[in-house]
């Protein structure tokens, strides 16, 4: 009896988790411009008008640029920090880890506010740069977490073997260390891209009058404008964020010879990546 109740509970939660997403995907095909249920009919007529919407295209382009630049910065700085923290014991090592996680642990509004008053204090005008600074700050940690998790699961004996065989520090890095962490870096980068592409809270404070795609969606939902086009964009956003995340999951799932743990390691690592990678909106 208890088992049956438990199964029903799990089934209800699965429904609860998935239903809204399936439903919203359906609304993209709503024939009417009134968003009520049941849908009066299905149609793809809103797709064309959405793709010709100039404001939407500009917002999309801004989001893509911001995400690409923020991801690049995050990969460079995040992997540097991960290598340093993994390889060396130094004073303040724990502080570094804590500092990097701070932008995710603190509510997004704090990060947004802080950057906003920072730019106001320095009389910096809002631009693509200010958006990128905001995004990169919380994207660094996703790359850092992924790289560090991978480094911790690799064996230092491989590096030692490489050195014993006569490779210098750079050769060892290039031919041994980098190939071992490459997929983790790509995975972290993909997660960072998805995070940046989707971010809205920090962006409201660092964008000024510019519209990223999430800001365009937010503005239109709030004012109840252009909802048929919002529905189409929403479907597009689901696809654009799910694809890199799925890829990232695949890249970190199988780490071949580098895996030291079995079974448990997988669940732990992917859970950690998933949790740590999510923004604090």
């Amino acid at each position: 009896m208890a088992r049956v109740a438990l199964r029903v509970w799990v089934a209800l939660i699965v429904l609860f988790l998935l239903f809204p997403i399936l439903l919203i995907a359906l609304y993209a095909f709503n024939e009417s411009n009134v968003q009520s249920w049941p849908l009066p009919g299905l149609s793809t007529k809103w797709f064309a008008s959405t793709f010709h919407n100039e404001a939407m295209r500009q917002a999309l382009w801004l989001s893509v640029r911001a995400a690409l630049i923020a991801t690049t910065i995050a990969i460079v700085l995040g992997s540097m920090a991960a290598f340093a923290v993994h390889r060396f014991r130094f004073f303040g090592r724990e502080t570094v880890s804590f500092l990097l996680v701070l932008p995710l642990a603190l509510p997004g509004i704090i990060t947004g506010m802080a950057l906003n008053s920072f730019f106001a204090w320095g009389t910096v005008d809002f631009s693509l740069t200010t958006i990128v600074i905001g995004h990169a700050t919380f994207c660094i940690v996703t790359v850092y977490n992924n790289a560090l998790a991978r480094l911790r699961r690799t064996q230092t004996s491989l590096v030692e073997a490489s050195m014993d065989l006569g490779a210098d520090g750079w050769q060892t890095f290039r031919h041994v260390t980098l190939p071992m962490v490459a997929t983790a870096l790509v995975a972290g980068g993909l997660l960072a891209f998805a995070l940046s592409f989707d971010e809205v809270i920090v962006t409201t404070f660092t964008a000024g009058a510019q519209n990223t795609l999430p800001l365009w969606i937010f503005g239109n939902i709030r004012l109840g404008q252009q909802l048929p086009q919002v529905n189409v964009v929403v479907l597009m956003v689901i696809v654009v964020t799910i694809v890199p995340v799925t890829l990232a999951q695949r890249l970190t799932r199988d780490t071949g010879v580098l895996r030291t743990g079995t079974g448990r390691g997988r669940a732990d690592a992917s859970t950690h990546a998933a949790v740590a990678a999510e923004p604090a909106p």
Binding site: P107, W121, D168, I238, D268, P281
Partner: protein, 308 residues
């Protein structure tokens, strides 16, 4: 080392390589130098931008805005904090934010524990993978998209009321209310609760349960007296997310909360965006900061950090 000698003997490019080798060997011996080089860029980013920004935020809470010019005056005072403490409206907003954050945390814990128990300890391997993906899908679907979906579901002419009418119940009118925020927040952060609890259930060794059974405990007693205390750190770890994310939000209150359901975040947002009063916004933003700080201290005592 033979490789190095061979290069030297070969001459030519070897001379360049041995110089590089000396440099890298030097770097290898001086670990602190390499660590410094690697850390300098990320540390500079975080100290010069992020920490500086946080410091300015904290300091500007003690500044004020000139009523006539609208300019920030760098003059130390406690006016902003006084305004917040003395205004019943602001107190209500702070209490509403903290209250709903607590309710959401409790709800998610109640929803997640049975689910995670089943997923971690009872489900066969394949089902486990399926459930894992099902939990991750909403986590990785755009936050705005999910809030918007609920706005359509809960709307007066949405699918919830349509279903209730079909089933013969009257409709409910919870769109744009505190109830709507409670439902939507619980939905948004549920995966953040499920994942750490799931891992916590997974980590409990089978032998503990066998020992409990050997000592005569039945299923329910074992669950309550052995499993639950062991997964508590996981629950607290999840609650850090559910609580913190709710505290800092202003999008969900704007989109599904409607009039009269402002959160701390809404006040902060409008103080910056509309009233252009950054010092006041900064002062109000210290409330979630302090609440979260206290919460993290308690969470660390319970051992939640190891369960993250």
């Amino acid at each position: 080392m033979t490789a190095a000698r061979a290069e030297v003997v070969a001459g030519g490019p070897g001379r360049f390589r041995s110089a590089r080798r000396r440099a890298s060997a030097g770097l290898f011996r001086r670990g602190w130098l390499r660590a410094t080089l690697l850390l300098s860029a990320p540390a500079a980013w975080f100290v010069l931008i992020y920490l500086a920004a946080l410091a300015i935020l904290f300091v500007s809470a003690f500044w004020r805005v000139d009523a006539f010019t609208g300019e920030v005056v760098h003059q130390w005072n406690l006016d902003n904090f006084k305004t917040i403490a003395e205004s019943p409206a602001y107190r209500t907003i702070a209490l509403r934010t903290i209250g709903i954050a607590a309710a959401v945390t409790l709800t998610d814990a109640l929803l997640a524990i049975p689910f995670a128990y089943f997923a971690a300890r009872l489900a066969p391997r394949r089902l486990q993978t399926v459930l894992f993906v099902i939990v991750l899908v909403p986590l990785w679907t755009s936050y705005l998209v999910r809030v918007y979906a609920w706005r359509l579901i809960l709307a007066h002419d949405g699918i919830l009321n349509w279903t209730l009418h079909k089933l013969g119940f009257g409709g409910v009118d919870i769109a744009y209310s505190n109830w709507a925020m409670w439902v939507v927040f619980s939905y948004l952060w549920l995966p953040f609760m499920i994942l750490p609890v799931w891992v916590a259930f997974e980590r409990v060794p089978d032998s503990f349960l066998e020992a409990s059974a050997d000592l005569g405990a039945r299923g329910w007693t074992t669950f309550r007296r052995v499993l639950l205390p062991l997964v508590l750190p996981g629950v607290v770890a999840g609650s850090i997310f559910t609580f913190s994310l709710t505290l800092g939000d202003f999008i969900t209150p704007t989109l599904v909360g409607g009039a009269g359901s402002d959160f701390i975040g809404n006040v902060v947002y409008s103080s910056v965006g509309i009233a252009n009063n950054v010092p006041f916004a900064a002062a109000f933003a210290t409330i979630p900061l302090l609440v979260m700080g206290a919460y993290l201290l308690v969470a660390r005592k319970v051992g939640a950090f190891e369960a993250l």
